[in-house]
Symmetry: D2
Subunit: 138 residues, 4 copies
């Protein structure tokens, strides 16, 4: 079952047309990934970046915007795992409101050693949790 | 010839890992599109949104992040037109620094009537300019 | 009793020094005010701006930053009312974490008619709620 | 003579009321300070933070918002030095458009050792430049 996080659209997310300014969606996606790591994968971004010196940067993200979101909409962001590699993971975030798809992002995160700036294998404990998520999502 | 805009990476763009936080790239892409409309297409976003009541929201954007950008890097964003429809346009933004590709985004903008929130045909004057850009980019 | 809202410091709030980038605090203050209006004053920002055509812009804000906040700190933002005018209100937001003051903002919000861009009297229903908050905070 | 930087109000700065969302002003102030250090004080933020391990965080900032700024306004931000201490500096940024004051911020920056997170004396070369600015602004 996908991990999901509700985010209320706030004033700071909206543009002069009164709808979510799309770069703000990418901040929301990042928050979803951050909460997923913390709540489900078992390692917060503080521990990950500043203790284990690992980052999980985006390698690519393909995003479709299907319908506009407005101030005070409560948008549900559901993250599911599509495939898992030794050094990367492919996921989808589906954002809906009242059952209507607002946007959908398909992306690849890479495990990076922050000291060398190079990709490296997932630590075993993290990979085990990612694998569980992957299996539940199939 | 593609339209290009240099943007210096500033403190506000960078994350705790010292590199550009990727949602900030989407703000930069938006700035590139905004300046392109103002300088090349001949209509600023103020005129477009608040006088002509037209918006040009993203319908989709596929982005690859190839290399990290750091504080004070001067990144050149080059926008080129791939195809032009009656109500939309497909473009690519290639972001480079010292000849190295940092990221690349392929996207579709749609012409939208802000009063009805529906797609509509490009106004003739705008379409003519978009067509010139398209022809120069082939 | 002051209204309070906990906000977890996320990756998007932090700068290359690993601490909250101070402009993000002002986004947090705005969120606190927005939630306060919604939960306590009884009118959400959507209703306020797009139905009643009222805005509550900052007229001034004096902010002291006392200690740094880091990734994953849970900062409690407590809003209290200092004085209430016919067209404005003075409040303080005190942000603490584990009892330590992180920052403190003292500010004036003005009631503005969005059509004329001029200050106007608080609507009676809103003023009554603001007054209750004021009285509770003395 | 004060250092000044023009910043054009862009779509990303504006809120649903069509005016600059005030937290964006603080990003602009930060940009002004960053460019001032780079162009006038002679040390960029990259060198300062990642080579000299110094930060210049805000200790306090008092801001008045006098008039609204709208999309495509070209706002001139003029920074002047009010007083200089061994470990801090007091400055004012006055933001105007067509001679009209939009906002005014009075603030204190502190010189901080990023390794110890403690205030320290300005390095001699930086202090000399800050002193020149201070003397020119009296």
């Amino acid at each position: 079952m996908a991990f999901s996080l509700p985010i209320t659209v706030r004033f700071q997310h909206c543009d002069p047309a009164g709808i979510v300014f799309y770069p703000r969606y990418f901040e929301m996606f990042n928050l979803v990934i951050e909460e997923w790591f913390e709540q489900i994968i078992g390692v917060g971004f503080n521990q990950l970046h500043f203790v284990e010196y690992l980052g999980v940067p985006m390698a690519r993200i393909d995003t479709e915007f299907r319908a506009m979101s407005r101030l005070e909409d409560i948008v549900i962001f559901a993250l599911s795992v599509n495939s898992l590699g030794n050094r990367s993971i492919n996921c989808t975030i589906l954002a809906t409101c009242d059952g209507e798809t607002r946007c959908k992002a398909d992306f690849t995160l890479v495990c990076v050693d922050l000291k060398s700036s190079k990709a490296k294998q997932w630590p075993a404990a993290i990979r085990a949790k990612l694998k569980t998520c992957y299996e539940e999502d199939q």
